[in-house]
């Protein structure tokens, strides 16, 4: 077996094969250790793959002995190579964190099922990212979505509202997937192919109603998956009631993958040859900006911190859409940069909240009072991640928000300039809702109420995982150059400015 030649398929196959095996492991620590090892191995594979792509350019991999247009092909360029590395990095950090957290939240006998679902979700997300086949995207999207519904529902052990949240998520996710697959069907009808590159080539010049309808269905379906503004309603409850580690994992990966797929369809499958792309981009601009404000305002009033952060995620997706909607290399690069950085900050924030949930049993704002004294590592990690989310200089969030701003102003014209100012304004809203939490954390310990008793500090593993994420925020805030170069190149390859060759 030629390791390098088989490399593109391994990150999918590994968790995919590992998932059923996990189900057979005895309940307890074993599934967790297994899942963690698999995540680490996958992370290593993704890094090697990213390096290969960076050096050699886009990699294609044909499956089942059928070459590209006919069979299923995997195709990895810098964009999905990067998203792949991001997902597996988040998994590699969150899976170890999940151990102590899950022990508290999930029934002991359910652990094999939990980690199986987690690995399947992970494998699905990686599959969505890695594949170059449009229908394969749907299949993997469903694999990850179905396991996600299960994982969210497993939060019922702590809060029964997780069941309704999971159910709503299931219905909405299925609607989204259905729309997506209807769109694919229409595309297949128009072109007779499902391979993305092939689709693009055959779609050129086809400006008919079928293609338009396909586009509308795909955009709506994916919009649901990535929680674009009016279609975001499933996200806050799902994130709030899911187990802590699942929230951290999903917030950092699921919507990001959906954003990636949206990018892929916009720029690779449809591309600039379509006159309606600009309409779609305006659509995203409006919805992105609306998302930034509606969700930020909603976050301002939430007393449930997980809910607040979930709304904040919706707002952050607005930023990414805004970047994408600019339609320039700078804009897309900024959107990608924010995608990566937002994964770091949200994962860190939700992990911090998970520590609090573990020790205080609540993610209400009142549980955070005096946290800086009670759990200093968690609290300060959270403060730094919050600073990153608000876009304070020196953190990753600043870099990507700055890149977004720059892209908006560089685009020129009235609308992008206004959008640029709106980014600043909405960042101020982020400061407001994050300040609420930070202020409460810095207050003295509560003297009455349910959160007066002293607590043990969170397990070392959870704190270490949290701080790995926090340090990622700081590192990419201070040394963002490499990541910026990566996203810029990825964006230019994606948009066809660069042919995707080796540098």
């Amino acid at each position: 077996m030629d390791f390098i030649a088989q490399l593109p398929v391994l990150p999918v196959v590994l968790p995919f094969v590992a998932a059923p095996l996990c189900l057979l492991l005895p309940a307890g620590r074993a599934p967790w250790v297994w899942a963690t090892l698999v995540a680490w191995a996958t992370f290593a594979l993704s890094l090697i793959l990213l390096e290969q792509v960076w050096i050699n350019g886009t990699i294609s991999y044909a499956m089942g002995g059928w070459s590209a247009p006919m069979g299923i092909a995997y195709r990895i360029d810098l964009t999905n190579g990067m998203v792949l590395a991001l997902i597996s990095f988040v998994a590699a950090v969150v899976f170890p964190y999940a151990g102590p957290s899950v022990r508290d939240e999930i029934a002991h006998k359910q652990t094999p099922a939990f980690y199986t679902a987690l690995l399947l979700c992970f494998a699905g997300l990686i599959g969505v990212t890695i594949t170059g086949d449009a229908f394969n995207v749907f299949v993997f999207l469903e694999i990850s979505s179905l396991s996600t519904y299960v994982l969210v529902a497993m939060g019922a052990g702590r809060d029964r509202r997780a069941l309704t949240a999971a159910f709503n998520y299931l219905v909405m996710g299925t609607i989204g997937a259905t729309f997506f697959v209807i769109g694919l069907g229409l595309l297949y009808m128009a072109t007779g192919t499902l391979n993305m590159i092939d689709l693009h080539e055959r779609l050129v010049g086809q400006d008919n109603r079928v293609v338009k309808a396909a586009f509308a269905f795909i955009v709506t379906g994916l919009g649901l998956k990535l929680a674009m503004l009016p279609l975001h309603l499933w996200l806050p409850p799902a994130y709030s009631y899911a187990p802590s580690s699942i929230t951290a994992f999903l917030a950092a990966t699921a919507t990001k993958v959906a954003v990636y797929i949206m990018l892929r369809f916009l720029y690779t499958v449809f591309g600039f040859d379509f006159p309606f792309l600009s309409v779609a981009l305006d659509f995203f601009l409006i919805l992105g900006v609306a998302g930034m404000f509606v969700a930020s305002l909603a976050a301002m009033f939430q007393d449930d911190i997980k809910m607040m952060l979930a709304y904040s995620s919706v707002a952050q997706i607005g930023y990414m859409l805004l970047g994408i909607s600019l339609g320039t290399v700078d804009g897309v690069a900024a959107g990608l940069l924010h995608l990566v950085n937002h994964a770091f900050m949200k994962a860190a924030l939700f992990m911090a909240v998970g520590c609090v949930v573990l020790r205080l049993g609540s993610h209400q704002l009142s549980a955070f009072q005096g946290l800086a004294k009670r759990m200093p590592w968690t609290a300060w990690g959270m403060v730094i991640a919050a600073m990153s989310l608000a876009g304070i200089p020196g953190t990753a969030g600043f870099i990507s928000k700055f890149a977004l701003l720059q892209a908006s102003f560089d685009k020129g014209g009235l609308t992008p300039t206004i959008a640029g100012f709106l980014i600043v304004l909405s960042s101020l809203l982020a400061v407001v809702y994050l300040m609420r939490v930070v202020r409460v954390m810095l207050q003295p310990l509560p003297e009455s109420g349910p959160f007066t008793k002293p607590v043990v500090r969170p397990p070392l593993l959870m704190r270490v995982s949290l701080w790995v994420m926090v340090l990622a925020n700081i590192y990419f805030g201070l040394q963002g150059g490499g990541l910026i170069a990566l996203t810029r190149r990825a964006a230019s390859i994606l948009m066809g400015v660069d042919a995707g060759g080796a540098m």
């Binding site: 309704t164 159910f167 709503n168 219905v171 909405m172 609607i175 989204g176 729309f179 109603r209 338009k212 309808a213 586009f215 509308a216 269905f217 955009v219 709506t220 919009g223 649901l224 009016p230 279609l231 309603l233 499933w234 806050p236 409850p237 006159p275 309606f276 600009s278 309409v279 779609a280 659509f283 509606v294 305002l297 909603a298 301002m300 009033f301 939430q302 007393d303 449930d304 809910m307 709304y311």
Partner: protein, 575 residues
């Protein structure tokens, strides 16, 4: 090439910070040593030395030593030294610090060869000197200091504005002669701004009140230090930049006249001397305004000697105040009995400032009058003669007469302390020395060819001057004899500063209260708006609000359909 360590500004400024760290007993000797060291470095400098520095693409000349700066640096050193000796008993850290730092700033300014450097020293001078005004630490001096600082900073702002415009005009930053007007006769805005900035510091008429407002309120030594530097730095700059500016002649002439009347009716003798500063600077500015070799020599030479005898007068009044606690004419008088030495020094100062032959004022003042005469400017010449009579009145007669003679106040204070006497003695020796043997001073003047032909002790000059002064004294004697000389009465005399201290102040407070109420209105309104907006936002975005509550799944599905419909409509009919 001058080193940074040659700059007396730097030496004294560093010294100022060193001495506050020293034990109090060592402060004054250390100050003397530092000034001595600085003076020694000054000796080593050659005319024409300069330091050139390129910073941020600007060519700066932080130090430029020429004939003019040499003269001012020498006399500034003398003034600092005299004050250190005079205030020997004052060990207070702030005052010691300020009485080195403030002269340091002025000296740095004198040595500056470009506008940027000057601006820095200029502002530093303002900031360090205000501590001397504040030093008595009363509410009155606090307010006076604030007024003083506002005016000084305003002048700095004007200076900076002028510098910026000048730089935009010419691209050069070197300090050199400027024409106030363009060839077309219009004012050059840069030059005008610089002119007014320097004018504020030289206390132009109507811009002069800060001198009388703040100087007399300082400590004894503080007043002396203050009286020397700011105005003389301004004179130096006028000589550098605006020599031969006709406007300056008239401004100077007015400056020589109006303080005479205010000094006449002023009861506080230190305030009288503050008016005298205005009057004296007026002479110098007039000389600079003529811009001829003679008048320029006269102006800067007069500045040199004036610093010494003006200080001497301040010192003697200060000594009286030190012993009696007051400087008011109505509360002094008859002190000649117990303070004969102070009286003697005071008289020497008075004779010097009145320009009696044989004293310092005489040898240089004539040059300024010659400038007017050479220009055939009869009116100015008469004004200057008139002002000379006025100087005699308020500085030459009023100061010693009301301090030491007049009606007997009954106070029998001790003679001034020895260090004060030494300082006064040194000043007196210098005043007489310059008067009798002016050549060393003449050698420092900028126009050597002219001064070589000048002989102050020509017979007619002596006769003229004696006629003027002796008959003025005669008039005084007769006025006293026939009880026509107005008695001193305790009063506050309104001057131009009334405008900003009473109606201006009231207006300011009115405006401030208006702004405050406007702000309250705006802020209150804004708060109300914010509260209302927040309430409304909470209604829509709060946990139970339309945009944030948990919707039933059917509703979400409906939304999906709506989005799809909108997308289709857009794609079909808009795109």
């Amino acid at each position: 090439m001058l080193e940074l360590s040659d700059n007396p500004g730097v030496i004294l400024l560093l010294g100022a910070f060193i001495i506050i760290a020293l034990p109090t007993i060592m402060r004054r000797p250390a100050m003397l040593l530092i000034t001595g060291f600085s003076a020694m470095r000054l000796m080593g400098m050659e005319v024409g030395d300069q330091t050139v520095l390129s910073l941020f693409g600007l060519d700066l000349t932080p130090m430029k030593f020429d004939v003019l700066s040499r003269l001012f640096l020498i006399v500034f050193h003398i003034a600092v030294t005299l004050n250190i000796i005079y205030s020997w008993g004052v060990k207070n850290a702030t005052e010691c610090w300020a009485s080195l730092a403030y002269p340091a700033a002025a000296m740095g300014g004198v040595l500056a060869g470009d506008w940027i450097t000057l601006f820095i020293w200029w502002e530093l001078a303002a900031l360090t000197s205000v501590f001397l005004v504040w030093q008595p630490r009363t509410r009155e001096t606090y307010l006076a200091g604030m007024r003083y600082m506002v005016i000084q900073i305003a002048s700095g702002v004007l200076l900076l504005g002028g510098i910026v415009i000048l730089f935009r005009q010419s691209g050069a930053l070197a300090i050199g002669a400027l024409d106030l007007r363009d060839p077309s006769g219009l004012f050059n805005p840069a030059a005008l701004m610089l002119f007014i900035a320097i004018g504020v510091k030289s206390a132009f008429p109507l811009l002069h009140n800060w001198v009388q407002d703040s100087y007399p309120k300082s400590t004894l030594g503080g007043t002396i230090i203050l009286s020397v530097f700011t105005t003389k730095l301004a004179v130096y700059l006028m000589a550098r930049v605006f020599a031969g500016t006709p406007e300056l002649i008239w401004i100077g002439a007015v400056m020589t006249i109006f303080p005479i009347f205010f000094a006449l009716i002023e009861n506080d003798l230190r305030k009288v001397l503050s008016y005298s500063i205005n009057n004296q600077v007026g002479f110098m500015l007039t000389g600079i305004g003529f811009g001829t070799a003679a008048s320029m020599n006269g102006a800067v030479g007069y500045a040199f000697s004036n610093i010494i005898f003006e200080s001497l007068l301040f010192m003697s009044v200060g000594a009286a105040m030190y012993r009696t606690g007051t400087s008011k004419a109505t509360e002094l008088g008859g002190l000649y009995r117990t303070m004969p030495l102070t009286l003697m020094f005071c008289l020497i100062g008075a004779l010097s400032i009145s320009a009696f032959p044989g004293f310092a004022g005489f040898v240089t003042k004539g040059l300024i009058l010659d400038g007017a005469a050479e220009g055939h400017n009869f009116i100015i010449w008469l004004i200057l003669l008139f002002a000379s009579a006025g100087v005699l009145e308020h500085a030459g007669i009023k100061i010693p007469y009301f301090t030491f003679f007049a009606h007997d106040s009954g106070k029998r204070p001790k003679e001034a302390p020895p260090m004060m006497l030494i300082a006064m003695g040194l000043s007196a020796v210098l005043s007489v020395g310059i008067g009798l043997y002016p050549e060393p001073l003449f050698n420092l003047l900028p126009y050597q060819e002219q001064i070589a032909d000048y002989h102050p002790y020509s017979a007619y000059h002596i006769v003229e001057q004696l006629q003027l002064l002796l008959f003025a004294v005669l008039a005084f004697a007769l006025l006293i004899k026939f009880k026509l000389y107005p008695p001193e009465v305790p009063s506050t005399n309104l001057d131009f500063d009334w405008l900003y201290r009473v109606p201006g102040r009231a207006l300011l407070f009115k405006i401030v209260s208006l702004i405050v109420s406007l702000w309250r209105w705006l802020w209150g309104g804004a708060q109300e708006v914010v509260t209302r907006v927040m309430a409304r936002t909470h209604r829509t975005h709060g946990p139970e609000g339309t945009l944030a509550r948990n919707w039933p799944v059917g509703f979400m599905a409906l939304w999906t359909a709506v989005v799809l419909a909108v997308a289709l409509v857009f794609l079909y009919w808009v795109a």
